[in-house]
Amino acid sequence: MDAGATLSSEPPVVDIRGLWSVFTTPEKRFVVHENLDLAVRSGEVLSIVGGSGSGKTVLLRQMLGLETPARGDIRVLGQPVSQLGRRGAASRIGMLFQHGALFSAFSVLENIAFPLRELKTLPPGLVRDAAMVKLQMVGLKPEDGDKMPADLSGGMIKRAALARALVMDPPLLLLDEPTAGLDPESSEGFVTLLRSLHRDLALTVVMVTHDLDTLFELSTRIAVLADRRVIVSGPAREVIAFQHPFIHDFFLGERGQRAMELLREYPFAV
């Protein structure tokens, strides 16, 4: 079977066309995105990188419908984004927020079960069991389910939040800085987890990250945001070869050189 043909015939999971994002303050007007186009195909892991203030997180929030662009069209899973906020949104799109955004008044298990419980039709036993399965799929132990978010370590918060995002098996997962604030070891564990979930659950993943290790280990495609648009998108090697001051600083600085060694270790990424 020709993989290229199936990819191009399937409609993109996320389709952004002619996007303009403008923020106005009383004194000034900032244009963050100018006529930006981006398509995310089914099954890929797309990383969005860019300097701070280049509107990566804004783009993610616009895909979720949390912010409305000034102009342009965003379709997620074939639907306009404005329709996503409705009932059952958790079964279409999962979001891992940078700080987890766990409900602090609920235990971990209640947090994970929350989208299911809100359906109001599933029996409590089934909800509990389904949440328990997701809890363990992200590498937490059953006894962690009774802990409160305040008692968790940073890595556990990310894992619990990921379990909550995935509880209804959405085909699309958005990650905002998935490994920010984690120590190298738990960061690596989390990346391994994400990779295995991506494979097992056939997820399409869009992530924003600054961490080059995460970037090279996970992404199948990298989109670089600079000059208010996507200047280049493609596999890591293509992106690095592109001539642009931002790309030079980001990938080929001292920090970049170290991470580039990973590129040789993980041919998966390229």
Binding site: S91, S104, L126, D129, K134, M168
Partner: protein
């Protein structure tokens, strides 16, 4: 487009007699009302299963099937490799449901004990807070230039100046209502002129300070608890401790001082507006002119009442600040605790104000009457 409703159909016996699982088996489809009940009814025991006709099978649906199978693999199962992978994950990670323990006498007894200890802890930390306030005031008196004066003036503005409109409005309306209702009764006895005495004593000695204190407890007591509680949630309190700055000195004392100053002023302000409202209502309903009212007031109300009201207000102010800070500092870093703390703070400060007012009434029953 095929029907997405999850359903189970029995295959004719000639073709294998399995149960065919059809439709989209996802949590989103399971959200349909009464669907699960109809599915449960459609499962006769002891048959084989064929999942290959299902469009999708997610973990929630797989969990349901697994429970239906009595949590073990059916002998005769046809499934696609991806469906089998989902079922295997569910099978691997399903744990036995915990047995719910009945609450017995021992739990009730232990609960009572925990309640007593909690109350004891409240009393202890509140006493500690009062003690710290006294020590910090002494420290401030020794070195007045090192005091948190900017904070003090900020709180004075927010707690005092910004509360002027609402206290004036409430005071005025209560004055009008009180005078109007009283005048109806007094007119029957022809004792119209006594409205000055009744209004004067009631408003100056009791209602003015009480109204002001209750309004401020609701308005500023809750704000104090919420502010300090959010500082706990965002680790700001810990950051302050690390810098060696005491919460009692930097957070509690300026608020207590600001309320001690603002409360008597607001109390007087509320009293004036309530008397104004009463004066207006007396003029309208009884024909008692403001000029007469003003002349009769100093004779009807001894000056001692004003002193008592002011002293009371200072105590109310300090108590509202202390109760607000007390509950704010006890907030645990989660939203539930923040909400509970704020509610408890308002209820407790209003209760404390009323209790202390009763205490004042008993202790100073010889003053001003």
């Amino acid at each position: 487009m095929p029907d997405p409703t999850p359903r189970i159909q029995a295959q004719p016996a000639g073709e294998g007699g399995r149960l065919l699982v059809l439709g989209q088996w996802t949590a989103a489809q399971f959200a349909r009302p009464r669907l699960l009940r109809s599915l449960t009814r459609a499962v006769p025991p002891g048959r084989g299963w064929d999942l290959r006709g299902a469009d999708q099978l997610d973990h929630v649906a797989a969990q349901w099937l697994w429970d239906r199978w009595g949590r073990r693999w059916p002998e005769d199962l046809e499934a696609l490799p991806t469906q089998r992978a989902v079922l295997e994950r569910v099978a691997r990670f399903t744990v036995a449901r915990p047995v719910r323990r009945r609450r017995g006498w021992l739990d009730a007894w232990l609960g009572l004990g925990a309640g007593v200890l909690r109350t004891g802890n409240h009393v202890r930390t509140f006493t500690q807070l009062v003690g710290e306030l006294v020590l910090n005031l002494l420290r401030l008196a020794a070195a007045p230039h090192a005091g948190p004066w900017r904070d003090f003036s900020g709180h004075l503005y927010r707690i005092g100046a910004l509360a002027l409109p609402i206290t004036a409005l409430v005071g005025f309306l209560i004055g009008v209502v009180l005078a109007y209702l009283t005048s109806q009764q007094l007119r029957q006895f022809g004792a119209d002129a006594y409205i000055v005495n009744i209004l004067g004593i009631a408003v100056i000695r009791e209602l003015g300070p009480m109204l002001a204190a209750i309004l401020i407890a609701g308005r500023s007591g809750s704000a104090i608890t919420a502010q300090i509680g959010v500082m706990r949630v965002t680790d700001e309190l810990d950051a302050m401790s690390v810098m060696g700055i005491s919460h009692a000195f930097r957070l509690v004392m300026p608020r207590a001082m600001a309320l001690a100053v603002a409360m008597p002023l607001i109390s007087v302000w509320t009293t004036v507006w309530a008397l104004g409202g009463g004066m207006l209502a007396a003029d309208v309903s009884l024909g008692i002119t403001p000029a007469f009212f003003m002349r009769a007031l100093p004779e009807a109300v001894q000056i001692g009442n004003l002193a008592l009201a002011t002293a009371k207000s200072v105590v109310f102010g300090i108590l509202i600040a202390l109760v607000g800070c007390h509950y704010g500092l006890r907030v645990k870093p989660d939203t539930q605790s923040l909400g509970e703390g704020t509610t408890a703070s308002v209820v407790a400060s209003i209760t404390v104000v009323i209790l202390v007012d009763a205490l004042f009434a008993v202790l100073f029953k010889g003053v001003g009457i």
